[in-house]
């Protein structure tokens, strides 16, 4: 039962990846692209958690935590760049 559920969940998250990626390519302005990147890294965390459940290994959470921290810093940096024209003043 858990196997089937995990396969359905993999399909849903992959579709979510596809939608975010289409917005990343299409996005008319820069904030849309930043938002699409933000969504992509959150989707990557979801996929890593599902992989950890599928392979029954707790090794994936360090990678998920690292992606969370790096993605947050990247989003803040890009938004700050749009806001001030400079990241560190």
């Amino acid at each position: 039962m858990l196997e089937t559920t995990l396969l359905i969940a993999f399909a849903c998250v992959s579709l979510a990846f596809l939608f975010s990626f289409m917005r990343l390519i299409k996005g008319p302005d820069l904030p849309d692209r930043i938002l699409a990147l933000d969504t992509l890294y959150i989707n990557a965390i979801a996929l890593l958690v599902l992989l950890g459940l599928y392979f029954q290994s707790a090794l994936y959470f360090e990678a998920a935590l690292l992606i969370a921290v790096m993605g947050f810093v990247a989003t803040i940096g890009l938004s700050k760049y749009l806001l001030r024209g400079d990241i560190m003043e």
Binding site: L15, M22, R23, D29, P31, D38, I42, F61, T75
Partner: protein, 105 residues
């Protein structure tokens, strides 16, 4: 029974992740698009992480804290990044749909 709860949480999480990304793709305006990923996707990933924490806590004998750490971090940082992105969009005077309220002057 335990497997049923786990499956329900995983399906809920995957569904909300999909809804968030679909909203990001479908909605017409940046300020509307901001709603999808920052609310629905965060809830979806939160449900997935809770399912994973339950699974690993019952599989091994000790409580699995990694997932709770990721959940906490995600729930703290999502509003901050959404606020900064909205601020940047207002600053560069992004194009808006007519029916969005409180238009940027």
């Amino acid at each position: 029974m335990f497997e049923l709860i786990l499956s329900a949480l995983i399906l809920l999480g995957a569904f909300f992740t999909l809804v968030g990304s679909f909203g990001l793709y479908k909605l017409p305006d940046f300020f509307m698009r901001l709603h999808g990923p920052t609310k629905a996707t965060t809830l979806g990933v939160g449900a997935l992480l809770i399912a994973s924490a339950l699974y690993f806590s019952f599989k091994t004998d000790y409580i699995s804290m990694h997932e709770i750490l990721v959940t906490l971090f995600l729930f703290i940082t999502a509003p901050v990044s959404a606020h900064l992105m909205a601020k940047a969009a207002i600053h560069i005077k992004i194009k808006q749909v007519k029916r969005t309220q409180n238009q940027i002057k």
